[in-house]
Symmetry: C2
Subunit: 197 residues, 2 copies
């Protein structure tokens, strides 16, 4: 059996950007394959009584996160801009991921969306931005229309339900078998476990 | 000027236990001195609308934390038991820290309290437990009475106000100058900065 890790990400999540940009290289070093799993934090946060990002609800936590992201992106040689508004609405982008079966295109599209959002500061709910991201993943512009397909909407809802059932409460999260790891800070440990199984 | 790092801890905090057990060795390797700063998360959490530990308020986050602590303590060769009830009431213990001026005794007492709580599963609000912790730090049992001193109570309240003013919203936190780091996961980065200044 191929050793694998599940990467659960939400497009609004700043720390998911960090993991999206490094997980494939890290996995390749460990001989592990990555399953890219979009989901929505909104319904999970709502079930916790939150109607916004915790970084907006709790200002001290938010101020810290932006500074922490500045430090981490600088250390890693990543550009970083703060999206306005934050959090961005990643619903259409997440649905589009569900339309992309092929692994390299799926990963490339996800990275393109994160770069649009956190490098270029673009609105990832904007159709033209999404079309550009599809193009970067060698996917045709008419892919965009599929984010309105009933089965795609249902597939993303199912992803979010699965995330919650697996115990996921934030992003990024990583699953190796049933073992859950939360946060870009745990990616290396999760990958190590995936490589050992 | 001596290079230094401020370690802000709360006795109820599981991840503070991890940092308390390693910060002095790490600091010694870097030629950095550690300032041990107790504070209370209760008033800070209350200002965020929480009347309990977020690990109790948000069950998925709590389940994850206990598993994460199991993994981390196993990796580090630390014993770990889950205190009952959680969170423990660390008010008297934190006040006692404020009575201890000498650095080695202060650090030794803090480590003894964390060990009582998270290794031996004892109630750290219990006077006999605290007397045993004082003893482990070569401090006399009558030190305990000082946790009722007006000036000690005020000093701990001031610590908590200072923590909040510095932007601290959780524990452990580390300050190097005005640069804030949150979580045992950031201790190495904070120490690196302290060593460079």
């Amino acid at each position: 059996m191929q050793r694998s890790i599940q990467f659960w990400f939400e497009f609004a999540s700043t720390y998911s950007y960090l993991s999206a940009m490094r997980i494939e290289d890290l996995a390749a070093q460990h001989g592990v394959s990555v399953e890219w799993h979009p989901f929505l934090l909104g319904p999970i946060f709502a079930s916790q009584g939150w109607d916004n990002s915790p970084f907006n609800i709790y200002p001290a936590k938010g101020r810290y996160m932006w500074r922490d992201m500045e430090r981490l992106t600088a250390q890693r040689g990543l550009r970083f801009s703060r999206p306005d508004p934050f959090p961005q609405n990643g619903l259409k982008a997440a649905r589009l991921v569900m339309t992309i079966e092929a692994h390299p295109q799926r990963a490339a599209f996800v990275r393109a969306v994160y770069a649009a959002e956190f490098v270029d500061g673009l609105n990832i709910a904007d159709d033209q931005v999404l079309i550009d991201c599809l193009s970067q993943a060698s996917l045709p512009p008419d892919t965009l229309a599929h984010c309105h397909d009933t089965e795609i909407k249902a597939a993303l809802m199912q992803q979010t339900q699965t995330a919650q059932a697996k115990g996921i409460f934030g992003a990024p999260s990583f699953l190796v078998g049933e073992e859950l790891f939360w946060g870009d800070d745990r990616l290396d440990e999760a990958m190590q476990l995936a490589a050992e199984i």
